[in-house]
Amino acid sequence: MSVARAPAVIGRRPRRDKVRGALFYGLLLVSVSIGFVLLGTLIVDVLRKGIGYLDPLLLTEPTSTDPDKAGAGPAILGTIYMMLILLVAVVPLGVGTAIYLEEYANRERWYNRLLELNIQNLAAVPSIVYGILGLAFLVRGLGLGRVLLAGALILTLLVLPTVIVASREAIRAVPDSIRQGAYALGATQWQVVARQVLPAAIPGIATGSILALARAIGETAPLLLVGALTYVAVNPTLLGSFTALPVQIYQWISRPQDEFRLLAAAAIIVLLAILLTMNAFAIWLRNRYQKRW
């Protein structure tokens, strides 16, 4: 005969379990907040260090050996020019690829599946490898030299997968009933895409493209390899030597004098301000125009 055991208490957990649950919850809260703590510290730190050098000179003057006279004017212009080229190059390519994959490609075919795999892999290739590509083909191979156009084209290839993925999601979110309605009225495939699907997907595509652009203008490593780390005193031209804001920041960080570190902090404030504005605009765009079907 077995000894009678105490009946299980229903509806109450052992104290030990409660403590464990609370500990676990605490750990989760730490996990989710650690990133924000770092982000907050980073922003406060950068503001504290850079605010003294944040003046109009920073936005207009070229860099100099004297930190009190140095600015990031050509670098900021270089970044703006690259952003414009990027916008013109990456959006049509990205949206075109996304339309092909979502509306035209037959997924049973091996080459289309390979194409998808290829894009997913490209999205995770280290950015410096794109720099090597630019060095080998644009700077040396085509003989463009270390020019702004080479930098802009490399950034285009770098963020192309991001734009493709975002555009595909936007296109996929357009319900099939809209396509079928248009077909039923006699529209051709391109008419359906151009007049029904694309207009409905534009908010999503725009949001994704802006976020991709924001990522591109913060990139430093690939630009180092196509020669953005040079002294540029004049405003950049398409086929002239150039620098960009993050590269200028890197150059100032790598100087030994403390004043240049503070100058770098000031330039970081400018860079973060541009990026946050773009992010906020993208989010506003998404909330304002995104349709719920």
Partner: protein, 312 residues
């Protein structure tokens, strides 16, 4: 007009639904779109060709055995030495420290978002995490060098001005959103019935999270881990700025080190003469970097597909 049969009462013939001829405009559009898609194929092909050709030349000058077995990396010295081990060890050390932060905390953040956060909190937190992921790496490098390293020093960890520890830890925090976002996707894909069943059997939230949701989402979690490792291996600016440029074999995280990416960045930013051995080392190291990250990316993509197949 004359051809049309307007006779009252005549049975209408079958309506032809097929197009009269091929629509060449449609064909052209499809070709144009496919050409856009080919750009990304050309990019991959370009990367492979760009890396392979100078690498082959490099390995005809330097024996591949010496490259992998040598423990001294000094390509710019005279006589030069091309043992890649210091770069591999440096890359490994930075990656390990980054993962010590990113993997547990990324998973924790994912569990919180998927299992604990209320919908409103979750909707607010997810874009905020994206902001963290959108901070340029040069900024994280600055932060590691000018804030985190002095902080570690003040805390009694005797780190050098350039050190692996600071670069690795800051990179780890940067990678938390990568891990959290993919893991959370996988956890959200776990059917609610599994959770309900466990709760009905008396499981606590902790038990549901750790014994039901995490095991069910494991392929997605591993995918996020592999991707985080791949990104840590490929990250350039943080290590270039905060870990220094000394290629040495050491496991002491307070010491400086050089990674594969930092070597490429540091060497490539000068005007290296085409065809010189320094120029070719950039490509040989780049090839090693590409192969390693490529393998991890493909593994990660496969794992993500696996959980999608199971639950969607």
């Amino acid at each position: 007009m004359a051809a049309r049969d307007t006779t009252v009462g005549a049975r209408p013939g079958p309506v032809r639904l097929r197009a009269e001829g091929r629509r060449w405009g449609e064909v052209a559009v499809k070709g144009l779109l496919a050409a856009c898609a080919l750009v990304s194929v050309a990019t991959t092909a370009g990367i492979v060709v760009a890396l392979l050709e100078p690498s082959v030349e490099f390995f005809s000058d330097v024996s591949i055995v010496d490259f992998f077995s040598g423990d001294r990396w000094a390509p710019l010295f005279n006589p030069p030495s091309f043992g890649v081990q210091p770069l591999l060890v440096g890359t490994f050390m930075v990656t390990v420290w980054a993962c010590l932060v990113a993997l547990p905390f990324g998973l924790g953040a994912a569990v919180y978002l998927s299992e604990y956060a209320r919908p409103g909190v979750r909707r607010a937190l997810k874009p905020a995490l994206e902001v963290l992921a959108g901070i340029p790496t040069v900024v994280f490098g600055f932060f590691a060098l000018t804030f985190f390293t002095p902080l570690l020093d003040d805390l009694g960890v005797e780190v050098g001005i350039f050190n692996v520890l600071s670069a690795g830890l800051v990179m780890g925090v940067m990678l938390i959103p990568t891990v959290a976002s993919i893991s959370e996707d996988a956890m959200t894909a776990v059917p609610q019935e599994l959770r309900d069943g466990a709760h009905a059997l008396g499981a606590s939230r902790l038990q549901v999270s750790t014994r039901i949701v995490i095991p069910a989402a494991v392929s997605g979690i591993v995918a996020s881990y592999v991707l985080a490792v791949s990104r840590a291996v490929g990250e350039t600016m943080i290590v270039l700025i905060a870990a220094g440029g000394l290629a040495q074999i050491t496991v002491d995280p307070r010491e400086p080190a050089q990674t594969m990416t930092a070597f490429i960045g540091a060497t490539g930013l000068g005007d290296v003469p085409t065809g010189s051995i320094e120029y070719k080392t950039i490509f040989a190291v780049g090839l090693a970097l590409f192969v390693v990250t490529f393998a991890m990316n493909i593994l990660s993509i496969r794992l993500v597909r696996k959980y999608r197949e199971i639950y969607e």
